[in-house]
């Protein structure tokens, strides 16, 4: 089980340690630092490092490292780690440093003797209330605390994810269908591989114990699904509806996967020409982006990222739309286009200068595309209706669709 946890910042600063069993000296992290130096990119550090007495298991999140060691069940531990990340949300090193005591208390509640005790964030939020500005002001004045005094009700019930006695003046239930396209396009622009990873995020603020049923117009689209524990599997299997008693507040209801066998619409095309010359230590770059199958919607937040070969020193380019930035240290070229105008396609053109004397790079760099389409689920998935049983009120309901690019790569 999990023995100790160390948080390490990107700069290599060990800023939090927690031990669930007897204390292990932080010198054990040296094994990790050694591996990290070898790996160059933090992504490439082997996930498990063996040391004479312990196994160090590490993950890399939000530009910081979580890292610990233990005895058994890798998958298990990695998942616990990701769950911890979930609770903290998008947190940076500074937020952790500012709230170090709360983080410490949380870690104490989440694991007992290295075994998970309570990871359901609803329960944790009742045990230790997340800090807000208002509460910290009230606390300083009244001397009350962030720590709950009684056992959270969810802990004992068969529905641990929901607390009892929820009350709202206006009852609302919102669902966000978010789809990400993972794709690899080859040089000619045809999709070598494309699939859709979707999630349905929910924000449910309903009083009492509502029992919800969410149905889709076209549930057959979904072939690989995984659910929040509140969803009744059997109803999904027999009727293809999602029936559940929701947790209170924000949670991820389900995630799904629409596999490569189905045809996936590719909303964007890229015309590119990147070449390096044998002589003169220079190269040319010419990229044009245009809309493809967008179902009549506008492409937004379009960003093209290029990981340049090591020998590229600088880029002298001009963009017809948006701004570009080349970081000569990380060798990353980012072209932030913004909204795509189909009448006037954005283009980025110019020359690259290479390190003189170095051989020209073998490979052309591949492009990573980031984009967003509002009000569209690219798979065509549509929510049919949401029914509330068990409570009398009529809640306000809403569904939002967003499509984004996931790992969307264009080979050159």
């Amino acid at each position: 089980m999990i023995h100790s946890l160390f948080l390490i910042s990107n700069a290599g600063d060990l800023f939090l340690e927690k031990h669930w069993k007897s204390v292990i000296s932080r010198s054990v992290c040296d094994y990790f630092f050694e591996a990290r130096e070898k790996a160059v990119e933090p992504d490439n550090v082997p996930p498990v490092i063996r040391t004479p007495h312990h196994y160090l298991i590490n993950i890399y999140q939000f530009k910081k490292l979580m890292f610990l060691f233990s005895k058994l069940g890798v998958c298990f531990i990695v998942d616990v780690l990701y769950r911890m990340c979930d609770y903290f949300g998008e947190c940076s090193e500074t937020t952790i440093k500012d709230n170090v005591v709360i983080v410490y208390e949380l870690l104490e509640e989440m694991l007992d003797n290295g075994f998970p005790l309570a990871t359901e964030s609803n329960i944790l939020k009742e045990l230790i209330r997340p800090p807000t500005i208002l509460r910290s002001m009230v606390n300083t004045i009244t001397g009350s605390s962030n720590v709950g005094e009684t056992l959270p009700t969810g802990q004992l019930s068969t529905i641990p994810w929901r607390r009892a006695g929820v009350k709202y003046t206006s009852n609302e239930a919102y669902f966000d269908v978010v789809e990400e396209i993972d794709a690899i396009l080859d040089k000619s622009g045809t999709a070598v591989f494309a699939e859709i990873q979707g999630v349905i995020d929910a924000c449910v603020k309903l009083s009492g114990m509502p029992d919800l049923t969410l149905s889709f117009m076209n549930p057959r689209l979904l072939d690989d699904v995984s659910f929040h524990p509140c969803v009744r599997y059997k109803r999904w299997e027999s009727e293809r509806v999602i029936s559940f008693i929701p947790p209170d507040g924000n949670f991820q209801l389900m995630s799904y996967h629409i596999s490569a066998q189905n045809l996936v619409a590719i909303p964007v095309y890229v015309k590119q020409n990147i070449s390096f010359f044998e002589t003169g230590s220079s190269g040319r770059l010419d990229i044009t982006v245009g809309p493809k199958q967008t179902m009549g919607k506008t492409l937004e937040c379009l960003v093209v990222t290029v990981h340049m070969p090591k020998v590229v020193l600088s880029a002298n380019l001009s963009a017809t739309q948006g701004t570009y930035n080349y970081d000569p240290v990380t060798k990353i070229l980012v072209w932030d286009i913004g909204k795509l105008n189909p009448q006037k396609l954005p283009n980025l053109k110019g020359s690259l200068s290479l390190q003189s004397g170095a051989p020209k790079p073998e490979e052309n760099p591949s492009l990573n595309i980031d984009l967003k389409i509002q009000q569209l689920a690219i798979s065509g998935l549509k929510v049919n209706r949401l029914d509330v049983y068990g409570e009398k009120y009529k809640p306000f309901k809403g569904v939002k669709y967003v499509t984004k690019a996931g790992k969307f790569q264009v080979r050159t």
Partner: protein, 913 residues
Amino acid sequence: MSLSYSCNGHICENLLVMDSFVRFLKEREQEQLIKILSFLFYIFRHDDLKEMLDSNKDSLKLEAMKRIVAMIARGKNASDLFPAVVKNVACKNIEVKKLVYVYLVRYAEEQQDLALLSISTFQRGLKDPNQLIRASALRVLSSIRVTIIVPIMMLAIKEAASDMSPYVRKTAAHAIPKLHSLDPEQKDQLIEVIEKLLADKTTLVAGSVVMAFEEVCPDRIDLIHKNYRKLCNLLIDVEEWGQVVIINMLTRYARTQFLNPNESLLEESSEKAFYASDDEEDEDKKAEVTTLEKRKPYVMDPDHRLLLRNTKPLLQSRNAAVVMAVAQLYFHLAPKAEVGIIAKALGMFEPYLKSFYIRSTDPTQIKILKLEVLTNLANEANISTILREFQTYIKSMDKDFVAASIQAIGRCATNIGEVRDTCLNGLVQLLSNRDELVVAESVVVIKKLLQMQPEQHSDIIKHMAKLIDNIQVPMARASILWLIGEYCEHVPKIAPDVLRKMAKSFTNEEDIVKLQIINLAAKLYLTNSKQTKLLTQYVLNLAKYDQNYDIRDRARFIRQLIVPTDKSGALNKYAKKLFLALKPAPVLESPFKDRDHFQLGSLSHLLNAKAAGYQELPDWPESAPDPSVRNVEVKDSVCAERTVLTGPEGAGVLLLQTTRGSSNMQDLPKKRPKALTKKHTIAPSGSIKMYELLHRITGEGLAVEYCFSRQPFSPDPNMVAVQIQFTNNTNSETKNLHIEDPRLQSGMRIREFAEIGLQPTGESVTVVMGIDFCDSTQAANFQLCTHTRKFFVSIQPPVGELMTPTFLTENNFKKEQGKLMGMNEILEKLTLGEKCVNEHVIVERVTATANLSRVPCGSDKECRFAGKTVSSGCLVLVTVTTKEGGGAQLTVNCEKMVIGTMLVKDILQALSQ
């Protein structure tokens, strides 16, 4: 000027004084001084914190504790504050208390004596009425690693294991491995506690106690027998982390208790094949038949099936660890045909081929793993796609990955004969790559491929011979030299020339290259001694004086073998055979081979080495151990079922109402005698009356009955649980049984049961629905729909079913009765029926009429009952006072007068019969 001068003078003076003082002290005294100074610093270091901790204000204490915990979190030593902190262990402020606990657990091991001061506080905490405090006291007590308190811990764990609160019992389960690691001698006593907790029926405890079992006594498989079915059935409602632990344990359990589902299948089929070929020999056939008869055909143990079935829905968990655990369970336990549901091994990942395509932004280790998958998936059908994909990988900037890709191409070429030439050509093109590593790796792979059919590829060998001038990577050079030597007969003109070049550069070569030069020379000497005799001599002479003893040794050995002298013995004759023997082509193997023997998903499997604490997955037993050990005494399970969701049957009924186990009913093990099952699910006690909802004839074969099960309806405590039993008497299946269009009085609510998808002929299904009657006896009307028909039905509750029992003491009863006088009290005199001879019968009659519980009573002339209405929670108090001569008086106190009046009528009728 003068001022500053004088200042400087002072400093100088001071320094001088110090200096002379220090000099004055002897060396040893100096040391002591330093000690004293650092001690003073040590004492005053955290003075402010100590002051804050000693103050009366909670806010100051809290601030101090926060700062201290922040120090601990950053890894700074705060152990010297121990005495000041430990004083606050009894602090009323819960946050201060929690932070003190954090501190204590961290430093108790270092300050054992002081830590003992806090123990009494925890002992007090263990008796606290608040379950959270009891639990956290046990958590901290068991986390203090001080051996003196082992007996106290043991006692606390034992007590907590029988605590009322399941949360405290869960904490007790967590404490077990802690105590075990502190003092392994307690093992036997701890096993007793584990045994007790394993019998616990709540989902909350299940995961934790199995975890304790795995840590303390994983070999005591016998403890699991009685709980096996319960664990299987509870599994779906256990929290995720518990599921992982239980699934892993059950995997091991199944490997010791059930037979291998795959082995017997294999043998069976081979035997059949044997038959087909030997048709004529009748005798043989007979013999075979008898052996077959002796061998029982494989039938999967229903318990084995139960495990597979109950874990399957968990594949849809959001938790990757759970999915992985189920996947490994299927991998290790399921018949091969069923493994497909986790993704079909051997060709099963094929449809997902493209999901393993590699992106340039993947981390290297992911790239290598994806490459491995792609290589294993390659077959005649998809190889061209895969090779095209590999071609793009070769251009990657990540050189390790390029090398791995080239090896993967090599493996594809060896596995699939059709593409060998294509691969080879592709690899030869790579030989002109700019990157030396790519070339080197290609050479190594080509060498292996050529070994398979060298005759056809002399041009490639020639091409490679030319490369020797350019390639600098030693491994590649060595490979080329070996190739030329091995196939020197195919390139008779080039080979001696290469040797000439190499002889020239011999001294500057790496060791592996030198060895291959010697090798090449020897082979050429044997086949073409005319041209190469001198060259070989020269090379051998150079090698004789090499720095490396391996090379010197090899040179001496080879010289003896190939150059005939007087001393050289018989071996010389065979030199040619020795050197130019036909060598078997190498098998290009996966670097991930050989790790199958580790349990999938374990750390050991990932590292391909046995990790500390790894438990070997046992082999299937030759013959199955007695399956009856898993049978649970029926009596035992029935009592339990009533209270909590447990036991196969109980779970079936109750889970329907709760979360996700819905309609596990059909999944029950078939072994159980049917009549028994029926009795428990339909009429939990003899006194419950069944009502007809739909007659067999009006329902066209579908008969529906209902009863008021008197169980609390867990999704909504304000509803009455109505248990409905459907019996399908038709000849066809009934589908999509559900409720539609409820017509209710205002305020009434219905919670429908989950739709029954399919009901086969002749079977009964029981479901539970909830109705809030609003404490009235108005009927609830609704339509019962099947896939073909709709039936109008209504459920009207007897007034006695609108209440649930409450437990009151005699005093409370009197107090409450006093509040419900006047209008709320109804008095009736009655004559008891002939059979109502004693108290026992009266109690039975009253509780059968109304869902009330008995209230203890001092007098034997009086029977008291209490309950409250389900919907609004109004108290209902009933008193029956018997008089001599068969007379009696009935008193009902209830705020709801209608209910009271109706209840009086019903009870009067029941008692006067």
